[in-house]
């Protein structure tokens, strides 16, 4: 089984392959390595939004402008962004890839986060937002390929697509 550092490296390799012109992010402790690496790579073109629904709005505008954009958020932010996702990029058929770090479950230190995060995949399924999941059981050499495939899936289906990333456990 891979460790979190190896998985973060695989995510960064996938992002380099996708080569987004812009990255909009809201940080998570588990995403620090990825966000720091991309900030170094893209400079001012990788910047934080204040809330996840705002990030969805900004990314939607960039897609309408014909740009390649990637969002990076934590899974409890799916709760903030559901209405924005379903009423704008989903409704207007705007492709965007959203990398979502998983929280909750074994290894989680924040007791408040379990209720939402342990059920986030069911919640996004209920909202009919397509998602894929990667965790330590997925072979490390599959991580980059699947993230790049998910980006292509978003373009082909003209919809927002989530990739849930479990970067927490050894």
């Amino acid at each position: 089984m891979s460790n979190p550092a190896e998985r973060c490296a695989a995510v960064n390799a996938a992002i380099e392959q996708i080569d987004p012109e812009w990255i909009i992010q809201i940080p998570s402790s588990t995403l620090k390595t990825i966000i720091d690496t991309q900030a170094e790579r893209l400079g001012a073109r990788a910047f934080p939004a204040t809330r996840e629904e705002e990030a969805v709005g900004i990314a939607s505008g960039m897609v309408l402008a014909g740009r390649r954009v990637l969002l990076i958020i934590q899974d409890n932010g799916i709760g903030n962004s559901l209405t924005a996702l379903t009423t704008f990029p989903q409704a207007y058929h705007l492709p965007m890839l959203i990398l979502v770090s998983r929280r909750g479950g074994l290894g989680e230190y924040n007791s408040m986060i379990h209720t939402f995060c342990e059920h986030v995949e069911a919640i996004s399924d209920a909202a009919q937002i397509r998602s894929f999941s990667l965790d330590g059981t997925v072979p490390l050499d599959e991580w980059s390929r699947r993230i790049v495939d998910a980006y292509e899936f978003a373009q082909i289906t003209h919809r927002p697509v989530l990739v849930y990333l479990n970067l927490m456990r050894e």
Partner: protein
């Protein structure tokens, strides 16, 4: 100032640049008045138009468009207020927010918003915007001239009457609405 007249003046001032129009009465009135491919009608997504405009302004920074104009209401601005801070961070030169402030949630029965208690221009200036206020149609037209001549980010608070024009709902497929706009942007940027 009637919202209908304000919308007409804004559409006249920006016949070519991308114009993002907030949900409810603004979208319905502008769509009933004149349809144009440079208009992005946001049919729901309250609070999101400034963020959408920010993304467009950044994505079109090197385009032939001079401005990306967002027509927002006071209620929707209050819902997405934190976007002002992100605008301040990234400083989009082409972004202009036009706040049509009638002090009410007009689409839901004219319940009052908190706008009367808020100095939007001071908040925007604190986030790095330049701002103006417009209290009548002549003032709005002067502000529209100022927007065309001034690098962003810009915010104009324009006070409008609560009374809305009687126009039908805009019930088109959002895929079509967004597709017309995206095609226009791609062909003219």
């Amino acid at each position: 100032m009637k919202r209908w007249d304000a919308l007409s003046a804004i559409a006249d001032a920006f016949p070519r640049d991308p114009l993002v129009v907030t949900l409810g009465g603004s979208t319905r009135e502008l769509a009933a008045m004149r349809r144009s491919a440079n208009h992005l009608y946001v049919l729901d997504s309250m609070g999101l138009p400034p963020a959408i405009g920010l993304g467009l302004a950044l994505g079109l920074d090197d385009s032939k468009f001079e401005k990306v104009v967002v027509i927002e209401g006071d209620g929707s601005l209050l819902m997405g207020l934190s976007t002002l801070a992100t605008v301040g961070l990234v400083k989009p030169q082409k972004l202009a927010l036009l706040i049509l402030d009638n002090g009410a949630y007009s689409a839901t029965g004219n319940q009052p918003t908190a706008a009367a208690a808020v100095d939007f221009c001071a908040m925007a200036r604190a986030c790095g915007f330049q701002t103006q206020e417009a209290r009548d149609l002549d003032g709005l037209k002067q502000s529209l001239d100022w927007i065309r001549a001034t690098p962003g980010p810009l915010l104009v608070r324009a006070y409008t009457e609560v009374e809305a024009a009687k126009v039908p709902y805009l019930l088109e497929d959002p895929v079509k609405v967004g597709g017309v706009f995206a095609d226009y942007v791609a062909k003219n940027k």
